[in-house]
C-alpha cells in the first residue's frame, strides 16, 4: 500500500485534524462536537498517518501507548465527578467557573462537564488507536511472504 496521495495527505492533514479535534472538543457544549467526536477525529488523524506512512510512525508520533490514554481518559472522567462532593452536591453534578473573556475565544466557560468531556476524548482516542494498532498487525504480510 504505497500511495503518494495518501502519504502526503496523511502528513499534511495530521496537524490540521488534531487542531480541529481540539476545537470540536472545546466547542462541544454549545455547538455540534464534544469529546466523542473530537476523540474520533484525533484518532482519524493518527489512522490517516498510519495508512499513508506507516503504523509505526503513527505510534511514534503518539509518544505514549494507547492504553495509557485509555487509563488517563477514564481517570479524568471519573475524577471530574468528585468536585461536586466538596460543595455539597452529588457525584457528577456539574460545577462551573464564572465566565470570563479571552481575546479571540470570546466568553470562556469552564466546568467539570468539560473536564469529563476531556476524559471521554482521551478514552476514545485510546480505544480507537489500541484497536487499530492491534488489528493493523493482522494485515501485515507474513515474514516468509515478505522475504
Amino acid at each position: 500500500m504505497n500511495s503518494f496521495i495518501l502519504s502526503q495527505a496523511g502528513k499534511l492533514l495530521f496537524p490540521a485534524l488534531l487542531i480541529l479535534s481540539v476545537i470540536e472538543l472545546y466547542r462541544g457544549h454549545n455547538l455540534p462536537g464534544g469529546g466523542f467526536i473530537g476523540g474520533l477525529m484525533a484518532a482519524g488523524a493518527f489512522i490517516l498517518l498510519g495508512l499513508g506512512v506507516s503504523m509505526e510512525e503513527s505510534a511514534r508520533r503518539l509518544r505514549v501507548r494507547p492504553t495509557t490514554l485509555l487509563v488517563i481518559g477514564l481517570a479524568v472522567a471519573a475524577l471530574s465527578g468528585i468536585p461536586g462532593f466538596f460543595v455539597g452536591k452529588g457525584f457528577m453534578d456539574g460545577l462551573w467557573l464564572p465566565e470570563f473573556h479571552v481575546p479571540f475565544l470570546g466568553g470562556v466557560h469552564l466546568g467539570t462537564p468539560l473536564l469529563f468531556d476531556v476524559g471521554v476524548y482521551f478514552a476514545v482516542i485510546g480505544f480507537s488507536l489500541e484497536t487499530v494498532f492491534s488489528l493493523a498487525v493482522l494485515a501485515e504480510p507474513d515474514e516468509e511472504e515478505a522475504s
Binding site: A43, T67, A77
Partner: protein
Amino acid sequence: MVLFLSILVIFVGALLAPVVSKRGKGWAALFIAVPPLISFVLLVRAWIGTHYGADPLEVSWQWFPALGVGFDLRLDGISALMGLLVTGIGVLVAIYSAGYMKGHPQYGRFGLFLLLFMGSMVGVVLSNHLILLFVFWELTSITSYLLIGFNHEEEGARKKALQALLVTGMGAVAMLGGFIFIGMETGTYKISELGGFQSVLAESPYYIAMVILVLMGAFTKSAQVPFHFWLPNAMAAPTPVSAFLHSATMVKAGVFLMAVLTPSLGGTALWNGLLMTFGGATFLTAVCLGLFQPDLKKILAYTTLGVLGLLTMLLGIGTVLAFEAMVLFLLGHALYKACLFMTSGAIDHETGTRDVTVLRGLRKAMPITAIAAGLAALSMSGVPPFFGFIGKEYVYKAGLALTGMPLTVLVVAFVGNFIMMALALKAGISPFFGKPAENLPKHPHEAPWTMWIGPLLLGTLGLLFGLFPGWVSHVIIGSAASAIAGETLDLHVKLWHGLNVALFISAVTLTAGIFLYCGRRFFWHRHESFNAFWRPRGAEAVYDYLFDGMIRLAKWQTKRLQSGYLHNYVFIIALATIGFLGWGFLSFNNWPKLPADLPLPDLLFSGTILAMMVATVFAVITVNRITALVSLGVVGFGIALIYVYFGAPDLAITQLLVETLTVVLLMFAIYRLPAMRLLSSKKTRLRDAILSGVFGLLIMGLVLAATSIQVDLPISDKLSEMSYSEAHGRDIVNVILVDFRAIDTLGEITVLSVAALGISALIARRVTRKKEESDG
C-alpha cells in the same frame, strides 16, 4: 470532614506509592507507612473530639442523590475501635513490609495494593450507609485478591486468590440482597438510624431472608464454617499481607458487620441461634484442624479462624457481658495475632523455613523477635496479667452468666481455648527454645529493625493493656460495647476479679493447654495422613467440585453455541432479534400506519436513498470482500447524509467518523483473508434471504410504530428546556452525554476500554503464536 480525609489520605498515598517507593530501597520504602499514620492521627483526634463516643460523629455528603445513596460516614465506638486498629496496625505492617519486601522489584505495586486495601477497609468501618459499606466491602475483596495473588507467577497463589475472591464475592452479592430488603422495609439505609427499626425488621415477612442473606456476606468474609477453607489457603500471600488482612482487618469485617447490625437485626432467636451455632462450630473445627498443622503461618491462620468463630458466637449469645467479652477479645486478638504473624514472617525470612517440626532454639540468634513472639504467645494463651487473659475471663463470665444453655457455650469455649493455647505455645514459644537446629536452609540472624519494631510494640501493648486495663476500657472498649448493645454501658474492666469460677476455669484451661502442648508431636506425626483423609472430604472439596463443574458447563455450552462460523452467529442473532422484537411487536396490538402528513421527498433525499439501495444490492451480489465493505460504507455515509437532511449535525458527524473508523478496522480484519468463494448451497442462501427480508420489514415496522405511538410526553422537550438553564450548554446531545447522563457515559467508556484491552490481548496472542510457529 476529618473522617472523609482519613479515608482519602490513604487512597492518595496508594496512588503515590508506586512513584515514591518504586523498588523499595532505603527510606523511600517506609513511605507507605506515612498515609496510615496520618489517618491514625486524624481518627484519634476525631475520636477525642467525640468525647470518647459520648456524642458519636456523623457526616454525610450527597453521592447519588437520585438513588438516595449518600456518602455517609460515622464514628461510634465500634467503628473507632476498628478504624484505629486498621490504621494503627497498618502503620506497623507497612514498616514491617519495608523490611520484609526490601528491594523487591515490584515493591511499588505492593505498596499500592496494600494501601488501596487499607483505604477500603477504613471505608468499611466508617461507612454509615449500607450501600457505601457494600462498595468498600467489595473493594476489600478485590484488593485482597490482588494481595493474595501478589506472587502471581505461582499457579497456587493465583488459584487461592481466586478462591478467596469467589467465596467472599458470592457472599457479598447475597449480602447486597439482604441490604436491599432492609432498606425496603425500613425506608433507610443509614446504619445509625436502623437501630430504631428493630421491631419493624423482626416482624417483617422478609426477616428470615434478610438475616440469611446478610449472614452469608458476613460468614464468607469472616470465614465461618462451611466457608472457612479460603482463609488458610490465603496464606499464599506475602506475610505482611497475612498479618494485616488475615488477622486484624479484613476477616474481622464480617464480625464487624454482624456487630453493627446487632442493634437492628439482632435480638431474635433466629439471629442468635445462627450466630452461636456457626460461630461455635467454626471455633471447634478450626482449632482441631490447626492442631495438625506443622506450618507456622497455617497454625496462625487456623487459630484466627477459631477466634472469628468465638467472636461470632459471643455476638450470638447477645448479652451485654458477651458483647464486652467480644470487644475485649477482638482487641486482644488483633494485637497478639498481628504480632505473631510478623514474627513468623521474620523467622521464615531469616531461616528459610516455617516448619515448626524443625525450628528450634532461635532465641540466641533472634533475641528481640523471641521476646516479641513470647509476649504475644503468652497473651494468646491467656496467661495473667496479659490482655488475652482478661478477654478469656470475660468469655467465661459471659458463658457462666447465661441461663438456659450455659453448659454448651462453656464447654465450647473451654475446649477451644485450651487447644488454642497449645497452638499459641507452638507458634510463639517452641521455635525459640531447645537446642539450636543445625539443618536450617539459612543461617539465622536477628531480623532488621523494621521487622521487629512492630511485633515488639504490639506484644508490649498486650502486656500493658493487661496490667492497666483502665486505659483502654474507659477510652474505647466501653463505647464499642455500647454501640453493639445499642445502649450506653458503664464498663470497668479489671485484671483481678478475685477468686471465682471464671478464674478457676481459666486455670484449668492453662493446665490442659500445657498438657496438650507437651503431646504436640503426636499430632504433627499424623498431619499428612490426617490431611490426606480430610482434604477430599471437607468443604473445600465441595468448592472444587462446583468450580470444576462451572468450567465444564462453560466448556459444554461453548461447544454447543460457538460454532466458529460467522455465518451461524449472524443467523442466530438475526433470528433471536426477530423472535423477541416480533413478539413485542405483535403484543403491541397496534399496527403501524404511515404518517398522514408524509412530506414529498425531494431530489437530495430520494437521491441519497437510491444510492444507498444500489450500494446494498452491490454489497450482496459482489464476490469481492473489499467491494462489499466499501458498498456498506456508502450505506453508512448515506445515513449520515440523512441526519444532515433532518438537521442533526451531531449525529451526522458522529456517524461519519464511526463509519470511517469501521471501514478501516474491517479492512484490516479482512485484508489477509483468502478470496471469497461460493460455498453455501442455494437452499441456505434462500433461507438467509428470507430471514434478512423479514428482519428488514420488522425494523421498518418498528420505526413506524415508534413514531406513531406516543406513550408519554417526549422527554426531549424537557431536556432541551433544561439544557441551558441547568447545564449551561446549548448543544443538547453533548449536554446529555456529559452532564445529564454522565454516569452512563462513564460506564460506556469503561466498556470501551475493556473491549480495547480484550481485542489487543486476543491479537497479541495470535501474533506471538505466529512468531513461535515461524521460529520453530
